[in-house]
């Protein structure tokens, strides 16, 4: 990655688009502090991300960020409810079970609370992941190809749900995708090519 300079305001919905290998996911990882850059800075809600140590960044993520991954990344040892409870519990917040159950109800999985990931369909898994991302009321949601592993109809359902939740809670959204239709639903589009910003629109 080179010459990336980018500012995202609260409440904005930004799509990062580009061909495979253009550096979309890498950028997302850097923005979340999941990866460390050889040079450069990321400020998140006023905090210098790489001025913090790993645990400091983790605490910041717990407080500010929600995540949705292409391959869902649910923990297989935990059932749907426990997966959604996990970020609340990690942050030490009270009433995790109730809040998680409500959130799952919101994404339409009230009947699936005790199911383990491997017994859920792809679309259901991604909805659990959305519930997990939103349950902490994050200020910023990072989504990495959230429909990449889903068929078109299921994918569309998940995307609708994601934008609904985003609108309800006023979350800032950073979405990596190569699907122009999805990108089109964001106000701002940043195009990446070979690790550089290739234009905004």
């Amino acid at each position: 990655m080179q010459d990336i300079s980018l500012k995202v305001m609260p409440g904005e919905a930004v799509a990062i688009v580009g061909a495979s290998g253009s550096g979309k996911s890498t950028l997302l990882g850097l923005l979340a502090g999941l990866d460390t850059p050889s040079a450069g800075q990321v400020h998140l809600d006023g905090a210098d991300l790489f001025g913090l140590d790993e645990d400091g960044r983790a605490a910041l993520r717990a407080r500010l960020l929600g995540f949705v991954f292409q391959s869902f990344q649910l923990l297989p040892a935990l059932n749907a409810l426990e997966n959604v409870m996990l970020p609340l519990e990690l942050a030490g917040e009270a009433g995790a079970a109730d809040r998680a159950a409500k959130m799952l109800e919101r994404v339409g999985l009230a009947e699936r609370l005790r199911h383990y990931p491997k017994t859920l369909s792809g679309g259901e898994q991604q909805r659990v992941a959305l519930a997990r991302a939103f349950v902490t009321q994050p200020k910023l949601l990072l989504a990495d190809e959230p429909t990449g592993n889903l068929d078109a109809a299921t994918g569309a359902g998940v995307i609708d749900l994601m934008f609904e939740l985003n609108a309800e809670r006023g979350t800032t959204l950073l979405l990596v995708t190569h699907d122009d239709a999805i990108a089109g639903r964001c106000r701002r589009k940043i195009r990446l090519a070979a690790g550089r910003i290739d234009g905004e629109g």
């Binding site: 990866d35 983790a58 993520r61 717990a62 990344q73 923990l75 970020p87 519990e89 990690l90 997990r132």
Partner: protein, 828 residues
């Protein structure tokens, strides 16, 4: 196909996919071959040590002078030779006379081991390479004391007069036969004619000693066997020294067992390594299936890849094994007496064969599963290979391990016990582990998030975790077995020769002397002397069929049947005797008369339980049925009897008595006072022999302990491999948790919770397993009393929990040190 396989191997290697498996294999082969190398060298050294007890590599004994051709043959083959002439004769010094065991030797004696002499009584002794100079004799301490001479004085032997040169403190080849119990007088062969003691008809034994290279000795032995005539024999370790042989056999059992442990542990490590490899290759093979690869192609590809891997890893492993055993030999040079002989080539073959058999036995079956991976996995990641019973998958591997065990042990019984022990431990461990996981999982729904997440993780894969518990438990079993239990076994072994073992024997006690002797011994602080009646009798018929020398082919049998045996009569079975057939005398036997026969004597003379034996003693004969066969303990240093009869049968016969006791420490002159008070008694002092035997045993034990270090290393490797096997998943899950905002401490705590439970269960199981195996080995294989060890129940769980620390250090750190993004991208 081979070229493609090679390319695959290189790709896998570059990608780091094979490192774990290859490392496990290299360490396995390295472990096995270093044990084999070292065991081979120690075994050679032990044999040499044992030869020292013979005073030569080969010892030949005759009742007449050896023909010159034997001497010439030794010289012409480039071997070293020496001779000794042995007889019993009266020695005189002033007023004192004493029956002494004379040994006249040629220069060069002894060929193995060293004589030790001291310039005077109670002065430090030292090794010497010489023999007594002409006109000089060396006497042992007892003889000096009894004859009241000091070095510089003179003694007479036969018609000659000798100067006393030094105190002989140690002969390496001092045997345990009766003739050797008289005090020693050593002189040189050239002085012998002057004594006039060597006459036709004198009872003299002529010994010819040879030493040299193994092959040369082997060939000479072959030649000599073809040229032996009546009255000449070759004393090998087998027939000469039953008590030393018993020690050697036990030491080799210990060494073999150690090597076997390394084999079993390596197998576990390789099974775990393959598990990781196949998990990582599920995707690749699904893709290859999609691309149109036939199952047979995939299998051939894998087989070749693994054969090449086995070859390379075995090579590296053997080199490693060689280097490591050299390092250990160098490191422990001070502990090992003398230098170790260089290892032979067999360990290389052993190591390589072990590598191939283990890899193919344990890696191929799971790989066969891999080729059945459904192509569907490309789309749905959670579709695995078809499930098969673990037993079916590893049947080949288990058979391979059993084959290796058998090869290592060279004995079906020992191999079966160890294999059975491990198989039972695996089964029981898996069952208990699985049950414990289920139980704890149910309890674990409360508590901190880390604790709950850790427990949830345990329950998610109860089978895989049960496997991991088994692996850790096996590793811990081995470690506990090798440390605590091994110590107990060795203590029990040492304990067979207790410090208060009898070290003096009194022979030829007359019936009327029993009371005065008992009083004398009590006055002199001797505790619990044991006395046995002894009746001399010849075995004349078995089942009314007369027997004599002509009925037996074996030289020893011929000699024994023509001489009188020492019989005793007892109503209780002496300690250290074990009935192998029949039963000890019951009330009916005591009334009717019966005889109990020692096992090897029964074998030698073809005596079965139920046979009627007829003996002749002092012109009177008696007969009795054999009601039991006994095994004696040759280590016990107690008077052992080939035939024991019921008291009523022998009480009427003229008997003398034999007594054994432990001489009180610090009373050097007890023996002398005893022979002055009871001049007719023959006093046999075995303390010197006991000391020598004890030191041989100590060295054997030391050698066994060295070899145990390697198996210990293999045990630690298994623990590490078990942790590594699930490392990928842990790394990935740690990354997800980090992305969700978990701190390092939280991730670590979750892993700790998981491993604490795993470790505690595995630790308890390890304690249980080691105790069970130790008990089996002690009571069934080594015939020792098992010592229960309470510490093991603390040490097992403690070690299990230590695995948590190991994991936190090795595994979790690795999971946390990488940026979460990298782990997330890799997927599972």
């Amino acid at each position: 196909m081979l070229r493609l396989a090679l390319r695959m191997l290189l790709r896998d290697w570059r990608a780091g996919e094979l490192r774990v498996l290859a490392l496990a294999l290299v360490l396995a082969v390295g472990g096995v071959s270093s044990v084999a190398f070292f065991a081979d060298r120690v075994r050679q050294a032990l044999t040499r040590e044992a030869h020292q007890v013979l005073g030569a590599d080969m010892l030949m004994t005759a009742d007449h002078a050896w023909a010159p051709e034997f001497r010439d043959e030794i010289a012409s083959r480039g071997l070293r030779g020496a001779e000794s002439v042995n007889f019993v004769s009266m020695a005189r010094a002033g007023e004192e006379t004493l029956l002494s065991a004379v040994k006249a030797v040629t220069p060069g004696y002894p060929l193995r081991g060293k004589l030790r002499i001291a310039p005077d009584l109670n002065t430090p002794d030292a090794e010497t390479d010489t023999i007594p100079p002409q006109g000089t004799v060396w006497l042992d301490e007892r003889m000096m004391a009894a004859l009241k001479v000091r070095p510089g004085g003179a003694i007479e032997l036969g018609k000659a007069r000798f100067r006393v040169g030094a105190v002989l403190t140690l002969e390496p080849d001092r045997g345990v036969s009766f003739m050797n119990f008289a005090p020693r007088l050593m002189m040189q062969v050239d002085d012998l004619p002057a004594t006039g003691l060597v006459q036709p008809g004198s009872r003299i034994s002529y010994q010819l000693l040879a030493a040299g290279e193994r092959e040369g000795i082997r060939q000479f032995e072959q030649w000599a066997r073809a040229h032996l005539s009546r009255g000449e024999r070759i004393d090998s370790l087998d027939n000469a020294r039953p008590e030393v042989r018993a020690g050697l056999d036990r030491a080799q059992s210990f060494l073999g067992l150690t090597a076997m442990l390394a084999v079993v542990l390596s197998a576990v490590a390789i099974a775990l390594g393959t598990r990781r490899y196949t998990q990582r290759h599920l995707d690749g093979y699904a893709v290859m299936r999609c691309l149109g690869a036939a199952q047979s192609q995939l299998f051939a590809l894998f087989a070749w890849e693994f054969l090449v891997l086995a070859f390379a890893a075995s090579l590296v492993g053997c080199v490693l094994g060689f280097v490591v055993q050299n390092l250990v030999a160098w490191w422990l040079a001070a502990l090992i007496p003398g230098t170790l002989p260089p290892p032979g080539p067999i360990p290389v073959l052993q190591g390589a064969a072990t590598g191939f058999v283990l890899l193919l036995g344990f890696a191929l079956p799971p790989l066969l599963q891999l080729k059945d991976v459904p192509a569907l996995r490309v789309i749905r990641r959670d579709v695995g290979p078809p499930r098969q019973g673990a037993l079916a998958v590893y049947a080949v591997g288990l058979a391979a391990v059993f084959g290796l065990l058998l090869w290592q042990a060279g004995e079906l019984k020992l191999a079966s016990y160890v294999f059975g022990g491990f198989a039972a431990a695996f089964g029981i461990f898996a069952a208990i582990g699985y049950g414990a996981l289920q139980a704890i999982g149910r309890l674990g729904r409360t508590g901190s998030v880390s604790w709950r997440y850790g427990l949830a993780n345990l329950l998610r894969r109860p089978r895989a975790n049960a496997v991991q518990i088994v692996a850790i438990a096996v590793g811990l079993t081995a470690i506990l077995l090798l440390t605590l239990i091994r110590g107990d076994l060795l203590d029990a072994w040492r304990g067979r020769l207790p410090p208060d073992a009898p070290d003096r024997f009194l022979v030829n006690i007359q019936p009327e002397q029993r009371q005065p002797l008992a009083e004398f011994l009590e006055r002199n602080g001797v505790k619990r002397p044991q006395t046995f009646p002894m009746v001399r009798a010849r075995l004349v018929a078995i089942n009314a069929k007369p027997v004599g020398a002509e009925d037996y082919a074996e030289e020893r049998a011929k000699r024994q049947i023509e001489r009188e045996f020492n019989l005793t009569y007892l109503s209780a079975l002496p300690p250290e005797n074990k009935i192998t057939e029949g039963a000890w005398f019951g009330p009916e036997d005591l009334e009717r008369g019966a005889v109990s026969v020692e096992y090897w004597i029964a074998e030698r003379f073809g005596i079965r339980r139920g046979d009627a034996l007829e003996f002749l003693s002092a012109g009177r004969s008696f007969s009795a049925p054999v009601t039991s066969v006994r095994k004696l303990d040759w280590d016990s240093m107690r008077p052992n009897f080939f035939f024991i009869t019921t008291p009523a049968l022998l009480e009427g016969f003229p008997a003398s008595y034999i007594a054994s006791f432990h001489a009180p420490a610090g009373d050097a002159l007890l023996t002398l006072r005893l022979s002055q008070a009871f001049p007719n008694l023959t006093v046999i002092d075995v303390s010197v022999i006991l000391r020598q035997l004890q030191s041989v045993m100590d060295q054997l034990i030391g050698a066994v302990q060295l070899v145990f270090l390697f198996a210990l290393g293999a045990g630690v490797l298994v623990l590490y491999a078990a942790l590594l096997a699930t490392q990928d998943e842990r790394t990935h899950e740690a990354a997800v948790m980090r992305a969700l905002g978990a701190s390092r401490a939280q991730v670590l705590a979750a892993q700790r919770a998981e491993f604490a439970v795993l470790g505690a269960i595995a630790g308890l199981l390890g304690s249980f397993g080691a105790t069970a195996i130790g008990w089996t080995l002690a009571t069934r294989v080594f015939q020792l009393d098992f010592i229960w060890n309470g510490w093991i129940w603390l040490a097992g769980p403690a070690l299990g929990l230590a695995c948590v620390v190991l994991n936190a250090w090795a595994g979790a750190r690795a999971a946390l040190s990488r940026p979460p993004m990298a782990a997330l991208r890799e997927g599972i």
